[in-house]
């Protein structure tokens, strides 16, 4: 799976959490643009973790602010 395929899968997973239908680009931020609260973050991260069979620890989550950073992080964690 290349970055584009990973991105497509994440785009699919984020849809149910994107309640306001915000247009998503690599620069979209989870806290600012998508207004994710801590519970939404937990459920969304769990969905990503289960899809790709990875762990994104809270320490790693703290470094991820935007959609693009998340796609890169998932690519890296998948190894």
């Amino acid at each position: 799976m290349d970055r584009a395929a990973t991105e497509a899968k994440i785009a699919e997973l984020i849809a149910p959490f994107n309640k306001k239908g915000v247009a998503i680009s690599d620069a979209t931020s989870f806290a600012g643009d998508l207004e994710f609260d801590s519970l939404t973050v937990m459920d969304f991260v769990a969905a990503i973790e289960d899809e790709f069979d990875i762990i994104i620890s809270m320490n790693q989550q703290a470094e991820i602010e935007t959609y693009g950073q998340l796609v890169d992080a998932v690519e890296k964690l998948r190894g």
């Binding site: 519970l39 769990a46 620890s57």
Partner: protein, 414 residues
Amino acid sequence: MASWSTPSKSCGAEPMSDLFSKFDPLIAMREGLLATGVTDPFGMVMEKVLSPTTAICNGRETILLGTYNYMGMTFDPDVIAAGKQALDDFGAGTTGSRVLNGTYAGHRAVEDALKEFYGMDHAMVFSTGYQANLGIISTIAGKGDYIVLDIDSHASIWDGCKMGDAEVVPFKHNDIEAMEKRLKRIPEGAGKLVILEGVYSMLGDIAPLKEMIRIAKENGAMVLVDEAHSMGFIGPNGRGVAEEQGCLDDVDFVIGTFSKSVGTVGGFCVSNHPKFEIMRLVCRPYVFTASLPPSVVATAATSIRKLMHGHNKRAHLWENSRVLHKGLRDAGFQLGTETPQSAIISVIMPDLERGAAMWEALLKEGLYVNLARPPATPAGMTLLRCSLCAEHSAEQVQTIIGMFTRAGAATGII
């Protein structure tokens, strides 16, 4: 109330950035709430405490239903006598760390009482329950280790995780499958610590510890269970939810507190780990703080020994919990649990404004409960949290149900 203004510019230098700006949203929320004319729910003072279940609050005699005094030990005559004696014999405080001049006979005695209470080899007493979690978690799980914990864990657990620098992996509350998946994804060879609570204090629900601990052990993790809200009355000997579910022997570290059923202040960890005593030298929140005053450890030791024989009180506390849970549900309130699972009965409020109005109406009826709001609560809920005491009489519980019913009708909650 006090006014909040930006500090003035300091002389000659660039304008001082106000580090308090980050609190502006909370300040505005608080001002908005108080502007409705409601009594400040976080500013109540108890002018006189009459018993474990009654006090004078804002000039009125009030039934206390929002303390953690589950077993009513605060005014036990033997406990009080032990404290007074220790105050006379050992003075007001130790003025020192446990590892230097701060370990008195009483500190050893309370650790011995804990070892007996739990039937474990080691006990280590901290100055607060918060410090017990902070100290043990941050010391045993360090960089490169993994902590897998319930998302609804207490603040002291989260702070311990952060301080220790381990990789922190939360899972959905009480979700066994979510926990297992995360444990299985941890890289081979990494140290693993699973952290659970017996009773989760916001909704008063208990954890399926037996199944969770079995899975944790199958995956090579050590297990720490915080039993702060179960000590004294859950389990055949009051050792907590793990004892009740028959899995205490598989718990590596039990964390507890003296500030709930024991009735004073302090925290502890009990363990059967053969190397446990080294904690006394490496655990910074244990080393770099003053030890508990002699009177506090004396009251704690006396209380713990009496709790070993508290069967009748335990039975009465459970009866209180069942009666209050049924009474509030029948009255039409939405509760945090389907069945009474602990001494905490949580009443779910529609929002903070109506929760605060209901809280104030109860206070005017002569009843104190905890108003709990985010971030302490899960899922952004506002809760009126009732914690029962073994010293609440059956009549008091009926009085409480009547107060709730009237206040609920007056504020439109039911």
